[in-house]
């Protein structure tokens, strides 16, 4: 049980770190593939 809980904690920590790393190198699709201007 201890190993399982440690494993879950490790997964969450690595996933959170990956999330922060991804957000620094990537933009959401609505920002990456458009401009700030409005088109009518």
């Amino acid at each position: 049980m201890k190993s399982f809980l440690l494993a879950c904690m490790a997964a969450v920590i690595i996933a959170t770190a990956a999330g922060f790393a991804l957000s620094t190198v990537q933009k959401p699709a609505d920002a990456a593939y458009s401009t700030t201007g409005v088109r009518l």
Binding site: S3, F4, A7, C8, A10, I14, A15, A18, Y33, S34
Partner: protein, 342 residues
């Protein structure tokens, strides 16, 4: 002087005529022979479309936004890919996952649980240490979430959406995609660790051939000898290492769109990712079955790290001999007796 004016008048007249002709030509091209307007005269020709279809290319327009990929109007190859992920993949995934479930249920009903024939001896031997179990459970936990969220991408729309409605499905699918993306990292770390810590025991050898010939103790009641990992476990190991590497690599190509490859490359990556993933899920269902209800005493190995001596003798006799020779005959008796996980 009059002659000069006449020449100038002629040149100007000629220029005006040429200019008028140049302006009139496109307008005449928009008209049919009977003088009526042809609104599609300047649109894409059928021959052009056929040529594009044959070349596997695309027809592009012109856009003013920075991403010029959005100028792609028609990409005929995309239709094949759409058919794959909307139809073919669902058949492959359905047959693989449901087929494996049916086989396992049938196997359980026919064969039943593989019993520990000599019973529990009460003597334990360490099978996996704490680090090995932590790596296994980190990879396994991530895999289960990745499998559920991944299957949602393929089967969620036809199966789940009608049950829970558009709003709930949209929220679930969005969070599922976040989980799929972020948990891929600990999963990939886990696969790499698994590769490193168990590679030594998973190189195929002659014992594996004999193990397979004798049905591995799964079919029938024979107990062919095996070292730490038998041939079945080695197959699972290589499915995890090779399959895990392929799904991770193809998944990261999709997570970083257009960083490495173009749209055709990403369609190929998605195809590889999806097919390997559903086969991976099917293989892991078999692994989960044999590691839990399929074999008496098996779960304890990864659950608490030890197995009964009789379990080791019946399923990993050569490994038990090695361990006894290494630690001495009384070493294993110091392990606490565990309750069978049934």
């Amino acid at each position: 002087m009059a002659r000069l004016f006449a020449q100038a008048r002629f040149i100007i007249g000629a220029l005006v005529f040429v200019l008028a002709l140049a302006v009139a030509l496109p307008a005449s091209a928009q008209r049919n022979s009977d003088g009526s307007v042809n609104p599609t005269a300047s649109s894409v020709k059928e021959q052009q479309l056929l040529g594009t279809l044959q070349r596997g290319g695309s027809i592009n327009g012109r856009v003013s936004i920075p991403d010029q990929k959005s100028a792609n109007l028609i990409h005929p190859g995309g239709r094949d890919w759409r058919h794959f992920h909307e139809v073919t993949l669902r058949w492959i995934g359905g047959i693989a996952v449901l087929g494996m479930l049916i086989v396992l249920v049938a196997f359980y009903l026919i064969r039943g649980q593989v019993k520990l024939e000599s019973g529990y001896s009460g003597r334990r031997i360490v099978r996996f240490n704490a680090f090995e179990r932590a790596v296994h459970w980190m990879t396994a936990t991530c895999f289960i979430i990745l499998a559920i969220t991944g299957l949602n991408i393929t089967f969620g729309k036809p199966l789940l959406l009608p049950l829970i409605g558009e709003g709930a499905f949209a929220d679930w699918a969005q969070w599922a995609k976040y989980a799929h993306n972020y948990l891929s990292f600990p999963f990939a770390v886990g696969v790499f660790c698994i590769f490193l810590i168990w590679i030594a025991g998973n190189i195929p050898n002659k014992v594996d051939v004999e193990w397979v010939k004798r049905g591995g103790g799964i079919v029938g009641h024979d107990h062919p000898p095996a070292y730490r990992f038998n041939a079945g476990q080695k197959m699972i190991y290589w499915v995890v290492v090779i399959g895990g590497t392929l799904v991770a690599a193809s998944g990261y190509l999709l997570m970083f769109p257009f960083y490495v490859t173009d749209i055709q490359g990403m369609q190929l990556a998605q195809t590889v990712h999806a097919i390997i993933a559903v086969l991976f899920v099917a293989a892991m269902l078999a692994h989960i079955y044999i590691g839990t209800i399929g074999m008496e005493g098996a779960f304890e190995a990864m659950g608490e790290g030890t197995v009964d001596h009789n379990f080791a003798r019946e399923h990993h006799a050569l490994w038990l001999e090695q361990e006894m020779a290494r630690t001495g005959p009384n070493e294993s008796q110091r392990q606490p007796m565990a309750t069978p996980a049934e």
